[in-house]
Symmetry: C2
Subunit: 359 residues, 2 copies
């Protein structure tokens, strides 16, 4: 349940030009959850001068009655979009704004009946600024994530498989209260740690391995996303320690740079410039970070292309520079940061960041 979702429809309406016949049809499920509190897998939200209506199907009759308080719930007959089109017709609405993330087939159907235009990121932009209720949920998701990691760390040792660690992590995340694990936990060791999106394999951890663990928790629909990299004691660790220190410095440079009014690209450049000047620029191939909320990847994006996005108080995002050297291994250190009321970056994650060499 999203707290305060009751006011969000009103805010959106107040901020939009009101014209007779105009309506906004929201189809992105995470946007619907944000606007109404509905957590099911099928729905659409119509916001219009002729009233606000949430559509879902038979399966969610009881659930939608419990969750959706800010507008009327309508249970559709079969053929969901056909039902909605007829419903809009009866309301004498003729100009429909759609999200540009809608599937083409649904866009095509609606546009046969009405004058259609599309919008980009209208609700996503609202979602990128978190209110106090949302920050509380994200903080609890982070607490669950950190508690699970602390418990699983004792289990990480030479001879155990990546898959076993990932399974243990997901058990702990559930035990901590996470209902929906936001993404499959990444555990990548040795050479495999050089794959930024490796999936846990049957590979056993070995001495000298870098071990990248990237995991998320959830609370009330809001996610956390963190990465820590451990080092297992062994031979020839100098270069691994060197790249760890470079990544840690880049993480710190980017975090300290965070300030309202700066662009995502400027924050990205703080991390990227730091790694580049250490001589490892070509080994950092992904963006520096991304927003986290009802989606685990959402606005704001902290990357070289984010030249138009300026930071505002209430934005929550990751800072996650990394260096990935084929054949040697990789390091990523990912924290979550919120832009505070004072306009600076506050780290939300509390786990230590210094390199831990285990065993």
């Amino acid at each position: 349940m999203v707290n305060g979702s009751g006011n969000r429809i009103k805010s959106l309406k107040d901020s939009s030009p009101k014209k007779k016949g105009n309506a906004f049809l929201i189809t992105n499920l995470r946007n619907i959850r944000y606007m109404t509190g509905f957590t099911g897998s099928n729905g659409a939200l119509l916001i219009s001068g002729a009233g606000d209506f949430f559509f879902t199907d038979f399966r969610y009759k009881e659930q939608s009655a419990e969750e959706v308080k800010s507008c009327e719930v309508v249970i559709s007959k079969k053929d969901f979009f056909g039902f909605i089109i007829k419903f809009i017709n009866k309301l004498n609405l003729w100009k429909i704004l759609l999200e540009d993330t809608i599937q083409y087939k649904d866009y095509a159907r609606v546009s046969k009946h009405f004058t259609v235009s599309t919008t980009t990121d209208l609700v996503e932009n609202l979602r990128s600024i978190k209110d106090q209720d949302e920050l509380k949920l994200i903080k609890e998701a982070i607490r669950r994530a950190e508690s699970a990691f602390t418990s699983v760390k004792a289990f990480i040792k030479p001879g155990i498989t990546e898959r076993a660690i990932a399974n243990r992590m997901e058990e702990k995340l559930k035990q901590e209260g996470t209902e929906a694990i936001p993404f499959d936990t990444i555990v990548a060791s040795g050479k495999r740690s050089a794959l930024p999106h490796a999936r846990p394999s049957e590979k056993k951890l070995q001495r000298g391995d870098l071990v990248v663990v990237d995991w998320g928790a959830e609370c009330g629909g809001y996610f956390s996303d963190m990465t820590r990299t451990l080092l297992i004691n062994g031979e020839g660790l100098d270069k691994k320690r060197e790249i760890y220190d470079i990544v840690l410095r880049a993480n710190s440079m980017a975090t300290r740079k965070v300030k309202t009014g700066l662009t995502g690209a400027e924050i990205d450049d703080a991390a990227r410039g730091s790694i580049r000047s250490a001589g490892y620029g070509e080994y950092f191939g992904h963006g520096t970070g991304h927003g986290v909320g009802l989606d685990v990847h959402e606005k704001p994006y902290i990357s070289a292309t984010a030249t138009k996005l300026t930071l505002s108080s209430g934005m929550v995002f990751t800072i996650e520079p990394g260096i990935y050297i084929p054949g040697l291994g990789g390091v990523r250190i990912e924290d979550m940061v919120v832009v505070s009321g004072e306009g600076t970056g506050e780290k939300m994650t509390t786990l230590p960041e210094e390199l831990e060499t285990i065993w």
Copy 2:
């Protein structure tokens, strides 16, 4: 990894009219997995007279090299769709077929540069017929699911919460080898069992409760989907036993009806008619079944509206009638069925279906 995906691009090309300048751009990730074996979260597949190309980004460089053998892999620069559009331009292709499930914003971008048309379910239709390799993976997914259920059943008793049972199930599914749990396990007891899509709550199981457990496993990307309903001993169980028997009979009627050439609607009618004639028609509000494969809900759909879909050998789907009585509880019995080479329905699930009254 999908076995045999190497031949699928060739089959699709052989079955399509070849015209100079024509290309098919596949953007649905499950369709891409089916066609190429790629399991990551970003990609597009271009099939054309000028060659076949799989596009992904930096994060999946190593993974795509391992997984995609049937066409050339191209790692895109930033702005994924912009890169693909330029690439297509250089190949002198001008007529692009898109899937109608593509997001409108991507459709709009591509259609600015090329003559675009859309197709419905082109790859989905191929996917609805499983080959021997795919059936093996689905059978293993079912084995994992059944083994997990058998183990968790001993844990189901009065006083334990729905959530604890669901967590235990997901632990067992992982231990059995499931990498990606296809959907959140449903455990719904007592009155909550009347909600077909209830999520596990902190409600404790009580004497006399019907307990619906709906869970899935996975193997090599292929899913299973099953439901069993248990009854906890207590008072006043007659009506609960009665609806169980009616649902079981409906399940059996539909399964025995399965035959190549019949429509999904005819199979649905066998289950629905059976429940209707017992006087409970209004309490069975969802379709009788759905295909299962790389998606947990895919073609063929077994519902009243599936009047155009005819069954073919190799199709795999669920039969899952249910009766849901508000205030009393619900029963659903869900099996997986394959249309055999002889053209009849073979049950793939092996767990007993008779009502088990526990404790």
